[in-house]
């Protein structure tokens, strides 16, 4: 194979370029899509931009694969390409890939698709990757803004629907607010240390720990800066007190975009979070991990309790993703080699199970044009046996039942936390999992077990589509006569997405060995920046 890093060795600028090659390819393709959009015929539903987007992702994967053995620093140390990036890039690209697969079908049925949609998806994916690769506070801020602006537009993409617009507006206002916090935090840290580069901040703190006469107020500055930075990032990770935008935006956004927000953005946020907070781990003025500890417990408990009360499936998944963020945070708190690799593994597992669940939601949304109200899922398991089984599988994975990736992820993270001595944290997290199982199972109950008292018994499925789905409004069954199932075949792109998610959820649950090795190897590069 062509070894790019060898060829460009010694040429500084080219090396810098090489360090952002996977991102750059995506940006090139994003522009290509915009160009190609000029030649689109409106009837064709922007097919070429769809394929271009897929090819872009494929090329990015290719570059990732070619460079995967190297550690390249670029742009005066503000961007790095290392093993840690390789793992998270893979997860983010997969999330983008699955999102694109889902998008085609989703927008086909709503006929609002423009080429710029795919270009925006590629832009935001590249921004997520840049965010993970950033080693500099300015770079982190720029990437977060880049990523967020793409996400704001994507959230409001269903222009006709007020819910979508409202979601975008809420997301935008709160998101900007959080970015301000982030920037403010960066300013404080700069004031305390005189550096913006994470590497230099790390060295600075490491040296200051041994100096007796270090000005106390600088410590305070650093602590304030870190907390503000945490607030900014916690917003993107949707941790508890900063989660308020999540349910509304997830609910109002087009479902593929919801998937991108729930998986890609969260991964990127966790990635940069790990980068920042592993580089300040020598800073022990106050026990920073106590704050995270409380945040984790509040996040998962709140997420689970709120999810329990939801009747709308997308909102339910939104709250459950808040809870999931709490579990993932446990891995970060556990820290160390074991904890961080557990976090990475969980993030990868999380991509597949969440994307799978969203793909099935889209499938049901499109086939039935029913709403995402849980009530309308009644008996669906019988109507679409395979889709129902797959959905149940993803839900069980989210609940953390064995044989699925969700269990392995939780197991990895929890055992890391016990290893670091966080017994109570794990105990509460386990109680939370037991509690969370209830609302996941509630959906499965709806799909498979129909109460005898209800009029719709499994023997006459065909009536189910025709029966008015309660309170669904706009998207309620427009052509809900009978036999909807047979007439509309499941679109192949969606099917591929579901199958990929299904296979990986199963493999990560039963034979996680290669993925765990991958995660463990990628962690080693973190402490050798």
């Amino acid at each position: 194979m062509l070894d790019l890093a060898q060829i460009y060795n010694g040429y500084y600028f080219e090396k810098s370029l090489l360090s952002i090659m996977p991102e750059a390819v995506l940006i090139v393709f994003a522009f290509l899509i915009l160009l190609a959009g000029l030649f689109n015929s409106p009837s064709k539903n922007s097919l070429n931009s769809y394929y271009l987007a897929l090819i872009g992702i494929a090329f990015s994967f290719l570059y990732l694969f070619m460079l995967s053995d190297h550690t390249i620093k670029g742009f005066y140390g503000s961007i790095i390409f290392d093993k840690f990036d390789v793992f998270l890039f893979t997860a983010i690209l997969l999330s983008g890939f699955l999102t694109i697969l889902m998008s085609k079908n989703y927008f086909d049925t709503r006929s609002v698709l423009m080429p710029e949609y795919y270009s925006l998806v590629l832009f935001s994916v590249s921004a997520m990757m840049l965010l993970v690769a950033s080693l500099n506070l300015i770079m982190i801020f720029l990437s977060i803004e880049f990523m967020s602006i793409c996400a704001y537009i994507l959230t409001g993409y269903l222009k006709g629907e007020s819910r979508s617009t409202e979601a975008a507006m809420k997301y935008f206002v709160l998101g900007t607010f959080a970015s301000a916090f982030l920037l403010f935090g960066a300013v404080f840290i700069y004031a305390a240390t005189g550096h913006l580069s994470l590497y230099k901040i790390h060295n600075f703190i490491f040296k200051q720990n041994y100096k007796v006469h270090y000005a106390y107020n600088l410590h305070t500055f650093l602590a304030i800066g870190l907390i503000l930075l945490l607030v900014g990032l916690a917003f993107k990770m949707s941790l508890f007190p900063f989660h308020a935008w999540t349910p509304d935006s997830y609910d109002g956004a087009p479902t593929p975009v919801t998937n991108l927000m729930a998986t890609g953005i969260k991964i990127a946020a966790f990635g940069v979070f790990i980068r920042v907070f592993t580089s300040i781990y020598h800073f022990d003025v106050f026990n920073f991990y106590n704050i995270l500890w409380i945040l984790a417990i509040l996040t998962m408990t709140f997420g689970n309790f709120a999810a329990l009360l939801q009747t709308d499936l997308k909102r339910l998944i939104a709250y459950s993703s808040i809870a999931q963020a709490g579990y993932i945070l446990i891995g970060v708190i556990a820290g160390g080699y074991y904890g961080i690799s557990g976090t990475l593994f969980y993030l990868l597992a999380y991509v597949f199970m969440t994307a799978g669940a969203f793909a099935i939601i889209i499938m049901f949304e499109n086939l039935n044009l029913t709403s995402v109200d849980i009530k309308s899922y009644s008996g669906l398991g019988y109507k679409y046996p395979l889709a129902g089984a797959a959905f149940s599988f993803f839900l069980l994975s989210l609940a953390g039942i064995p044989v699925t990736s969700g269990f392995m992820g939780k197991f990895f993270v929890f055992s890391a936390a016990i290893k670091s001595g966080y017994y109570w944290l794990v105990f509460i997290a386990l109680l939370n999992s037991a509690f969370a199982a209830y609302y996941y199972i509630k959906i499965i109950v709806k799909m498979y077990m129909i109460d005898d008292e209800q009029p719709n018994i499994p023997n006459n499925y065909n009536n189910m589509a025709a029966a008015p789905t309660n309170g669904t409004g706009a998207r309620a069954s427009a052509n809900g006569e009978t036999g909807l199932v047979k007439e509309k075949a499941v679109p192949s792109a969606l099917l591929i997405a579901v199958i990929i998610c299904l296979i990986f959820t199963l493999i990560l649950g039963i034979f996680p060995q290669p993925f765990i090795s991958f995660a463990s190897k990628s962690v080693t590069s973190l402490w050798s920046i």
Partner: protein
């Protein structure tokens, strides 16, 4: 043949899964074919599992038919299988009960036959895996996933409040399992800190040195997981609901196999991993066991619903098994293990008979029956044998197990045993009284006039169980000789730890009175 024997455990575990996979490709409409195929395949599975029995070396406590492959290196988890005298019979019980319950459900299960037989076979795989795995992570994987097929079986084919029961079943057992997971991970990490070796190998984890206070905490955590499954008295509330609403096949599997997992877990995991904590907490657990025996029996007496009666009798019988296990003498543990088999057979048979009554009359209330013996003499006779076996009549299996338990525990825990013995008397009361009201007296309900006797298939369903009742009752040595070496080894471990335990007792002044 040698390769077959080398991988026999894997073959046994995954053959039902393979069968289920084959059935996926059978047309949904061909219900007869699905039923026959599933029954034949599960019978084939039972025949394969008999090879274990034939080639099992009965003179050693060592694990046999060991298979070991690396699975997840980072956690030190491996695909590690092996059986001893106890798991041997649990596996045989599982394959037999699955076959019997598939055979029993020809008439009961009318909708979604395909899903039903597939779920039953998947369930079998996970039950067998749980009994055969010697790796803690592997065990947990099988253990927890097992809930899912059972949950669907109760929720989709159950009666009445099936959804409530199914959700209750899964939430109770899931909560218990997760707390247990906490305990297991802690032991795993502790072992790593002591030896620097990441391993889930159960045999290595046995050597973990757990400080006493932590041991008690962990024992309670793991106790919760297993006690919910048994179920021991305050954790039993899911059982009557799940048993009552489940379809016959589900009840048979629940009573026959699933309840055994709790006791098996104590035997394999909780007690050997934390022997000192087990010894310290024994009095409390024995109190709970005796309460289970008496409470279960008393509640059974007043039940109006046949299935609920049998379900509560399970609570009572499982109390005996817990008593035998925690008395921790060789004789009582022998009896306890044998009683696990007996309970599976007897209670499984009782559920089958209740199912037959329900299929004919679509009611389970005792008051709706009466005088059936005249109309269905074969049913009455065979039912009588199952009832007597459950009561513990000498010559049938129940007697041997209960006798061993009571004899074994008497010397150590006299008062507990005396209280427990009353459970046998109560058992005679509720079971025989129930039998009298259902089978004898005059026919009061007109609907019972055309009550049909057992069909050939139904006789074949219960016949293996009836034969086993006599066989174990008359010649238990076939079973006991294979169980005994394992049990003696188990008791030796405890005795070995008693020395340390006595030291602690002297120090802490515990139970001196």
């Amino acid at each position: 043949m040698s390769i077959f024997l080398k991988y026999i455990l894997s073959i046994i575990i995954f053959f039902p899964l393979l069968s289920a996979f084959i059935l996926v490709f059978v047309n949904k409409k061909a219900e007869g074919l699905l039923r026959n195929l599933a029954t034949i395949l599960s019978f084939a599975e039972f025949v394969i599992s008999l090879f274990l029995f034939i080639y099992f070396k009965s003179n050693t406590y060592e694990f046999q038919f060991i298979e070991r492959f690396s699975w997840i290196r980072e956690f030190g988890a491996s695909y590690f299988l092996g059986i001893d005298g106890v798991s041997l019979f649990m596996i045989l019980l599982t394959t037999l009960m699955t076959f019997v319950s598939l055979l029993s459900s020809y008439k009961y299960i009318k909708d979604h036959v395909k899903e039903f037989v597939i779920l039953m076979l998947v369930l079998e795989t996970f039950m067998l895996g749980t009994f055969a795995s010697l790796d803690v992570l592997l065990f947990y994987l099988f253990w927890e996933f097992m809930l899912i097929p059972m949950y669907f079986i109760i929720g989709m084919w159950g009666s009445g409040r099936r959804i409530y029961s199914a959700v209750k079943f899964i939430l109770y057992t899931l909560a218990g399992s997760l707390i247990m997971l906490f305990g297991l991970i802690t032991i795993f990490i502790l072992h790593y800190e002591q030896t620097g070796d990441f391993t889930f190998n159960l045999l290595k984890l046995y050597n973990t040195n757990i400080p006493l206070t932590l041991q008690i905490v962990l024992f309670i955590a793991i106790f919760l997981g297993f006690a919910v499954k048994v179920p021991v008295f305050p954790f039993h509330t899911w059982l009557p609901d799940a048993h009552t609403e489940a379809p016959t096949a589900g009840s048979v599997i629940l009573a026959g196999v699933l309840l055994k997992f709790g006791v098996y877990g104590f035997f394999r995991f909780a007690i050997p991993l934390m022997p000192e904590a087990a010894l310290i907490l024994t009095p409390i657990i024995l109190v709970l066991a005796v309460i289970s025996i008496i409470y279960g029996a008393l509640v059974s007496i007043v039940q109006k619903d046949l299935k609920r009666l049998v379900a509560f009798s399970s609570v009572s019988h499982m109390g005996f098994i817990m008593l035998g296990l925690f008395a921790m003498t060789a004789v009582s543990v022998d009896g306890s293990v044998l009683q696990m088999i007996n309970h599976g057979i007897s209670t499984g048979a009782l559920f089958l008979f209740v199912g037959m009554l329900y299929e004919r009359r679509h009611t389970r209330l005792i008051a709706d029956f009466g005088g059936l013996a005249k109309k269905a003499p074969i049913l009455a006779a065979l039912f009588m044998i199952a009832v007597l076996s459950s009561v513990g009549l000498p010559g049938l299996n129940g007697f041997v197990g209960e006798f061993l338990i009571l004899v074994g525990s008497f010397k150590q825990y006299t008062i507990f045993t005396i209280f427990a013995t009353s459970g046998i008397i109560f058992a005679a009361v509720y079971l025989l009284w129930m039998f009298q009201r259902v089978m004898f007296q005059d026919i009061t309900n007109q609907k019972n006039e055309d009550f049909k006797d057992m069909t050939f298939r139904e006789i074949m369903t219960v016949l293996p169980l009836i034969l086993l009742m006599f066989f174990i009752g008359l010649y238990p040595d076939v079973f006991l000789s294979r169980i005994n070496p394992t049990v003696v080894h188990f008791v030796n471990i405890i005795e070995h730890n008693k020395y340390a335990y006595n030291l602690i007792k002297a120090k802490m002044g515990l139970f001196n009175a």
